[in-house]
Amino acid sequence: MTLVQISLATGFALIFLGLYGALSNRNILRMIVSFTIASTGVNLVLVAVGYLPGREAPILDTIPVASAAERITDPVPQALVLTAIVIGLGVTALMLAYAYRLFRARGSLDISDFTELKW
């Protein structure tokens, strides 16, 4: 296994674990924790997909501009991941605020207690 494959596999495994945790844990906070694990996995997958084995970070302080195309790794996924991380934090914060309010409303953090809306 190469580094890329390891990272990719780790990423997918984290998504797998995170999703499973989010779908099987009734506790709302634990669901949110699981989702953060899954999104870490997603980020890992994103970066790994853009990685070119043996290449350097896309910062041209030591790399001459002329040879940049041969030496740096793909910067695009990195840019995307940056965005994804920040968005992930936003969503997590929002879910946490919701969790708090739900707890205030019912005194419970069990997702199966919030089912008045149905059918």
Binding site: L8, F12, A68, P75, G90, A97
Partner: protein
């Protein structure tokens, strides 16, 4: 194992097969693809930034970043809304029972300015070195966090935070529109001269935008943190 646990497992495992198909058919590229090699070659002449990721984030995919900043803005606003709607019972303050003592308070008073400075350094140098507005903003927010931890009773001025956040955001949008008017399009960084490659005042509007992003993100993180921490509502 109950069915409640088993069904998600089966489903996630099935989804795993989809992922496995993706994984097994994946081969890393040997050379940069079209888009990436354009960035490798053109970032410097077009934007004057050393850090290509920064150039992409601030310029080429600037709209994403504007959206990203807006995500935080939204989150801060909504978290504020969610929590302001419920008047929490007044209780003794404290960050979830984390210790706060004399040592921490003194330490915080000394550390906060340093951390703030470091944060500013990170976002100002975003176009040269790793880091930038988001990382710098997060560092700035951690100074805020430290203050919260040290003295949980301390009130931050929501007004100030939201003023910083809003004016940074507004300036960002205006800079974007200036690009539309004076340069090649919305959020074009060439509204300012590109300057000398590798120096602080280079890369056109990138440092300026990253400073704005840093301020804004710092303010937003701080606002989220303080809303979540405060036991009584400021409003």
């Amino acid at each position: 194992m109950t069915t409640r646990m088993a069904i998600p497992l089966v489903l996630v495992a099935l989804l795993g097969t989809v992922f496995f198909a993706l994984f097994s058919s994946y081969t890393p590229d040997a050379s940069l693809n079209l888009t990436a090699s354009y960035y490798a070659d053109q970032t410097v002449p077009e934007t004057g930034a050393q850090n290509i990721v920064t150039a992409i984030i601030v310029t080429y995919r600037g709209l994403d970043t504007l959206g990203e900043v807006t995500v935080l803005f939204l989150t801060a606003a909504i978290v504020g809304l969610v929590l302001s709607q419920s008047k929490a019972p007044s209780a003794h303050a404290g960050a979830g029972g984390l210790p706060s003592g004399e040592l921490l308070q003194t330490g915080a008073r000394m550390l906060v300015p340093v951390i703030l400075l470091f944060g500013a350094y990170v976002f100002i140098n975003g176009h040269l070195t790793p880091g930038g507005g988001f990382q710098g903003g997060a560092i700035v927010a951690s100074a805020m966090l430290l203050m919260l931890l040290a003295d949980p009773a301390e009130r931050f001025s929501h007004g100030l935070i939201s003023k910083i956040e809003s004016s940074a955001g507004l300036t960002y949008v205006i800079l974007g529109l200036l690009g539309l008017l004076f340069a090649g399009g919305f959020l074009d960084n060439k509204i300012l001269p590109l300057g000398t490659f590798g120096s602080i005042f280079s890369a056109g509007a990138i440092p300026l935008i990253y400073v704005l992003v840093g301020l804004k993100v710092g303010a937003e993180f701080s606002s989220i943190l303080t809303s979540l921490e405060e036991t009584e509502d400021a409003e």
